[in-house]
């Protein structure tokens, strides 16, 4: 494969999750090793064995998961590895000064003495960019940089990117979002399954063409769904307050989910959505408030009791909370019912029943596996997520909490999971959908609640919800 980036241009690298974009860039940055092929920089072939080599050449990378150390200050993070020092002793004042100068020059305001963990994600990204610039980066690689930003912050980022290229730098912009490519890129390279399938420009190719190149077949860019027929309230959250290390992370949140509707929660990640979800399921202690499930107050019940009384959970991070990679698919498919009949008799597990259920769910939910006995780790990301969805929907819940249900998943699986959620809604399921992908919320939700700093700042009708207005609400505008 070949990829060529010119000075002064924004080059978008477009592809699905798992298409190999990040791997390619990790090779350029010296974090991964290529099996074959060469990297040329400024027209000369170069060997990049480590990030040190990349930094020396003038390549900087802002990773999707920020490479910042939360307990260190902004300045410490920026100078790390290239410290200002005398005889090994840190010159912190020098670092503060250097950071201030740099942030003034590029218009990226940030206080060098603040600890990174106290900064909002948008500002943390700014620190990442400053970090690269401090090291003299002329080629900046941005890996999925918009995932954690509001639409307005995204616009700000685009401005920064244009400023950088105007000074003659180059930017590689990795993304799977078509709209962003159209908005910011000078040139577009599309990747699919580890290969480059096309190099084009926003003028030559329109979004449907790009989507087809990216996935390899025509894609529906929107979700088909009929109007909701809301029934009784299935889940009621009343005045929920959650504290985390003496800070209020969920501040007096109330919401209702009715049977047969999808309530979407939009918001930039880290504004309390995760904590609301965990509190509803009973994984997190609450300071105040009530959780009412199907008319019964379950606030004091264990997670187990809540799950058994009709709550389903698709957790935000499937590797941390959704599946056990080492266990077989079959065990994962009954993970929340392992101690109920027919899967248990006295204390003995009943493998025939487990296997029967597993085979049924694998078929119904189109999980691509050779056998229910293979470990869940052997499945692709999309199939792992389908496994979680199969387990939760297969139990026939009354309320489903779906947190980031399609994160890190290929387009085929996304479409499948969306269809499943909608058809279950039509069958009377109440769904609480939490997603930091605003487009996903807008496409699926019948009502949209917007969270900002632990509060629900607005609840809008799903049909009338306007992208820009929701974006402003997500950023705290009133």
């Amino acid at each position: 494969m070949d990829l060529e980036v010119q000075w002064g241009e924004v080059h978008a690298l477009l592809g699905e999750n798992g298409a190999g974009k990040s791997t390619l860039m990790n090779i350029v940055y010296g974090l991964a090793r290529a099996d074959a092929g060469t990297v040329e920089f400024d027209g000369k072939p170069v060997q990049v064995h480590s990030p040190q080599d990349a930094i020396r050449l003038g390549i900087g990378m802002v990773h999707q998961h920020f490479m910042l150390i939360p307990v260190l200050t902004v300045a410490e993070n920026i100078v790390l590895g290239h410290e200002i020092q005398s005889a090994g002793v840190m010159d912190l004042n020098g670092a503060y000064l250097a950071v201030r100068k740099l942030s003034e020059r590029y218009g990226l305001q940030v206080d060098p003495k603040t600890r990174v963990e106290d900064l909002p994600v948008g500002i943390q990204q700014r620190v990442e960019i400053l970090k690269a610039l401090y090291r003299g980066a002329r080629l900046l690689i941005l890996d999925e940089p918009t995932a954690v930003l509001t639409p307005q912050e995204i616009a700000g980022l685009f401005q920064i990117v244009r400023n950088l290229t105007a000074e003659g730098n180059a930017v590689i912009f990795i993304t799977h979002k078509l709209a962003e490519v159209m908005a910011v890129a000078d040139k577009i390279t599309v990747m699919r399954r580890g290969k480059i399938v096309a190099t084009t420009t926003p003028k030559e190719s329109k979004p449907p063409d790009l989507a087809r190149m990216m996935v390899g077949r025509p894609v529906l860019l929107r979700v088909d769904k009929g109007p909701a027929k809301p029934g009784d309230v299935m889940l009621r959250v009343e005045n929920l307050v959650v504290m985390d290390r003496r800070q209020t992370v969920v501040d007096n949140v109330s919401l209702d989910v009715r049977a047969g509707e999808i309530l979407g929660v939009a918001g930039v990640e880290g504004n309390g959505q995760n904590e609301v979800v965990e509190a509803i399921v009973g994984l997190r202690a609450t300071r105040a408030g009530h959780i009412v499930l199907g008319g019964r107050d379950v606030s004091r019940r264990s997670t187990r009791r809540r799950l058994h009384s009709g709550l389903g959970l698709i957790p935000a991070d499937r590797h941390r909370q959704g599946i056990i990679l080492e266990l077989p698919i079959s065990d994962n498919l009954i993970l929340n019912r392992y101690d109920l009949p027919p899967y248990e008799r006295w204390i003995v597990r009943q493998f025939r029943a487990i296997r029967a259920t597993a085979e049924r769910l694998i078929k119904t939910f189109d999980i691509r596996a050779q056998s229910p006995d293979q470990p869940a780790a052997s499945l692709s990301g999309g199939n792992q997520q389908k496994l979680v969805v199969a387990r939760e929907l297969g139990a026939g819940p009354k309320v489903l909490i779906a947190s980031q249900p399609t994160r890190g998943v290929d387009v085929g699986s996304i479409e499948f999971i969306h269809r499943q959620i909608i058809s279950q809604r039509d069958a009377g399921l109440g769904v609480l959908l939490v997603s930091s992908e605003l487009d996903e919320v807008l496409a699926l939700a019948d009502r949209v609640a917007v969270m900002y700093r632990g509060r629900i700042v607005a609840v809008l009708d799903g049909e009338g919800a306007d992208r820009d207005r929701v974006g402003l609400l997500m950023a705290g505008a009133t």
Binding site: N26, Y29, L31, A32, S50, P51, Q52, I55, M61, H63, F66, M67, L68, I69, P70, V71, L72, E76, L80, G81, H82, E83, Q85, G88, V89, M90, K131, R135
Partner: protein
């Protein structure tokens, strides 16, 4: 009241507390730099035992305490190097690797002790002399506590300051903390995570080796199998209670060793009828209580205990 104080003799109590806190503090400092760089070190106990033995053996053979202490430090570094190889290169579970070293230390010191030391009846190398620092040693109260000590205790006091300065004011310290918090971020910043961890693990061996020398060359002038008696683990607990900071670890070590002293003082001076065994339990129970209590607000390095694998 006066007789109470004079019988309890607080100055000598504090002075003994400081002295017996020496190996705990050194173990805690060693554990700290190791964990600050992201490697758990439960091998401190075994490293100290090895240091105690090698230090004694070298001093015995050369009739030179200073060569003994150097040998103890070198042995600590060598055996800590094994921990580094196993846990950093071969990605062995760091607890398993530490356990291995603890077992190995028992074996090596046992075998060599029996072969070379046990049957010798020549006199041992003795212990470090007490150095009274001129002028300072004559200050009332503070003098006897801080300035009339033996070598390892002075070294411990100096190392508290050195480790503190290194961790929080030098480039090396910043990089060490970065590797313990987020090794991948450190690597993307151009830091060689393996190198930083290696150096810190081996340096922790030097500190614990010196702590071992306390037992054989400062305290009793002899080696006895298993003489470290769990002090390495208590040092680890002191590190946790001290929130991974040198001063905190020192204070926690004083608490542990002080509890030991107060107990035996109560026994001997006031004839309180506490069975000897219960007094002996005190530091261990205190360790359990402290580790359980401190953990709620623990600020352990985020990546400690996880092998780091370059992709």
């Amino acid at each position: 009241m006066n007789t109470f104080l004079s019988q309890l003799d607080p100055v000598s109590l504090l002075s003994i507390t400081l002295v017996t806190a020496t190996p705990l503090t050194l173990a805690a400092l060693g554990g700290m730099i190791c964990e600050r760089s992201g490697v758990v070190n439960i091998a401190l106990e075994g490293i100290m035992l090895t240091g105690a033995f090698v230090g004694y053996a070298a001093a015995f053979a050369t009739h030179n305490l200073w060569l003994g202490v150097l040998a103890a430090i070198a042995a600590g570094m060598l055996i800590a190097g094994l921990h580094a190889v196993l846990s950093i290169n071969f990605l062995v579970d760091q607890i398993v690797s530490g356990t291995v070293i603890n077992i190995l230390a028992v074996g090596i010191t046992g075998v060599f002790y029996r072969q070379f030391i046990e049957s010798q009846n020549t006199a041992g190398p003795g212990t470090f002399p007490q150095w009274n620092i001129p002028v300072l040693a004559d200050i009332p109260v503070l003098g006897p506590i801080f300035f009339q000590n033996q070598f390892v205790t002075y070294a411990m006091l100096a190392l508290i300051v050195i480790v503190h300065f290194t961790l929080f004011h030098t480039v090396w310290g910043l990089r060490t903390r970065a590797c313990g918090e987020h090794p991948r971020a450190a690597e993307t910043a151009g830091i060689n995570v393996y190198f930083v961890r290696y150096v810190n693990v081996i340096a922790s061996g030097a500190l614990a080796g010196l702590g071992g020398a306390y037992f054989s060359l400062q305290q009793i002038g002899n080696f006895l199998p298993g003489m470290t008696g769990g002090r390495g683990f208590i040092g680890l607990a002191a590190m946790i209670f001290g929130q991974w900071t040198p001063l905190g670890a020192f204070l926690a070590s004083l608490l542990f060793s002080g509890s030991d002293q107060v107990g035996s003082r109560l026994q001997s001076v006031f004839h309180v009828a506490i069975p000897l065994q219960f007094l002996g339990m005190l530091p261990y129970i205190l360790t359990i209580v402290v580790v359980a209590g401190a953990m709620g607000r623990a600020v352990a390095p985020a990546a400690v205990g996880r092998p780091y694998k370059k992709s």
